[in-house]
């Protein structure tokens, strides 16, 4: 009656562990290799037509009016963002790029807006004021559940006659939601960047800071002395 006592059987543990170690080497090697290759790919996405967005002003921004006509010349546009890949918008989904360098996008936006309002001078010599633009941020700012596009400019407004220069800042922001499909996401990013660019150019050309800088630069010496 009763249950038989369980018999303990010795197992050849050394042999089993040896086999297990051999079988584990291969998956670990494959995993390490694939992670290394994946990280290399992830760090270096390449711009292609299907992952590139076009950023430009949809309609030129109308600059503010000054008491007397002023002609601007867009001088240097310098990227100070310190971004090693300035055209890369995001690394996600194999990378999304803008079609031109940020400095070219900003220059084009400023020149087209000033030209539309007949306030663009063809050269520096004939301009009343020269705008030297420093681009401090062009791209996405850190965000969790959406795209937060941000463009920050510092502009040196230089009077070529006196050589005096004043610095003003302008910024543009835009928020758009993250889409599920990559195509929709690119469309949203394009809208987001265009919005931020338009906002930044508007903030500069219609800003009180530019108004004050122009007034102080173009004030006659007699009135400035009083």
């Amino acid at each position: 009656m009763g249950f038989p006592a369980p018999a303990l059987r010795p197992l050849p543990t050394r042999g089993n562990l040896g086999h297990a170690a051999i079988f584990m080497v291969f998956p670990i090697f494959v995993l390490t290799f694939s992670m290394a290759v994946g990280s290399v790919w992830a760090d270096d996405p390449k711009p292609k037509p299907d992952n590139t967005i076009h950023v430009a002003l949809a309609t030129p921004v109308t600059p503010q009016k000054f008491s007397r006509p002023v002609k601007f010349f867009v001088g240097d546009v310098i990227d100070r963002a310190g971004n090693p890949q300035p055209m890369l918008v995001t690394n996600a989904r194999g990378g999304i790029f803008v079609d031109r360098l940020p400095v070219d996008i900003v220059r084009d936006a400023l020149e087209s807006s000033l030209k539309a309002a007949d306030m663009l001078s063809p050269d520096a010599a004939s301009a009343d004021l020269i705008l030297n633009v420093y681009l401090f941020h062009f791209g996405l700012a850190p965000s969790l559940a959406d795209f937060f596009g941000k463009i920050e400019l510092a502009v040196a407004v230089k009077d070529p006659k006196s050589g005096k220069s004043q610095q003003i800042t302008a910024r543009g922001t835009s928020i758009s939601h993250v889409a599920v499909r990559k195509k929709s996401e690119m469309k949203d990013l394009e809208t987001d960047f265009n919005g931020a660019l338009s906002d930044a150019v508007r903030n500069l050309l219609r800003g009180q800071a530019l108004h004050d800088a122009v007034m102080s630069a173009t004030a006659s010496p007699a009135s400035a002395g009083n």
Binding site: P142, L144, R171, G172, T173, S174, N203, R206, G207, H211
Partner: protein, 171 residues
């Protein structure tokens, strides 16, 4: 009887169609421009540095959605002299921020341990700096949520309060 119903329906449709443009005209921006400035922070309000930028951007997009303003302009933009009397400037301060406690929120519930943010918002008419309203806004959120979600909630509430305050101000 049928003729009577048909005539009644036609008359009703006519009234509705005539009223629609009037309603649309009323709902079109009551104010020419609104300028939202970056909100200041009171001492001791420890939020991430980009919170103010995000709140500013989100508030601007929410103000567009109120349809109370023809234009939502950026900070520091000039406004035409003619538009200044019908333009509003929004300034604000983040007066208090409590991080909340995720454990309290989970264990006790009933709003305990929630993250909270208090804002003091001021609406001013651009032309004569007349105070159009002072709003005290309080936002509560789950402590596990990101601070940016708090900014979205804050912007939403501020935009709603601004809308309600300005609508009542006009009437």
């Amino acid at each position: 009887m049928r003729t009577f119903v048909a005539i009644s329906l036609a008359a009703l449709a006519g009234i509705l169609l005539a009223a629609a443009p009037a309603r649309a005209k009323d709902s079109k921006g009551k104010y020419k421009t609104v300028e939202a400035k970056h909100f200041d922070r009171a001492e001791g309000v420890e939020l991430m540095p980009e919170f103010s930028d995000y709140l500013y951007a989100e508030l601007r997009s929410r103000l567009v959605k109120t349809k109370l303003f023809d234009q939502v302009i950026g900070e520091g933009e000039v406004v035409e002299e003619a538009d200044a009397p019908a333009s509003v400037v929004i300034t604000g301060t983040l007066t208090e921020y409590k991080k909340g406690n995720a454990v309290e929120s989970r264990v006790i519930g009933f709003g305990t341990g929630k993250r909270s943010l208090k804002l003091q918002v001021t609406l001013v008419r651009r032309s004569d700096k007349k105070n159009l309203g002072s709003l005290a806004v309080r936002v509560k959120a789950d402590p596990r949520w990101n601070e940016k979600i708090l900014a979205v909630e804050a912007a939403k509430q501020v935009a709603n309060e601004v809308k309600s305050s300005l609508e009542h101000e006009g009437s």
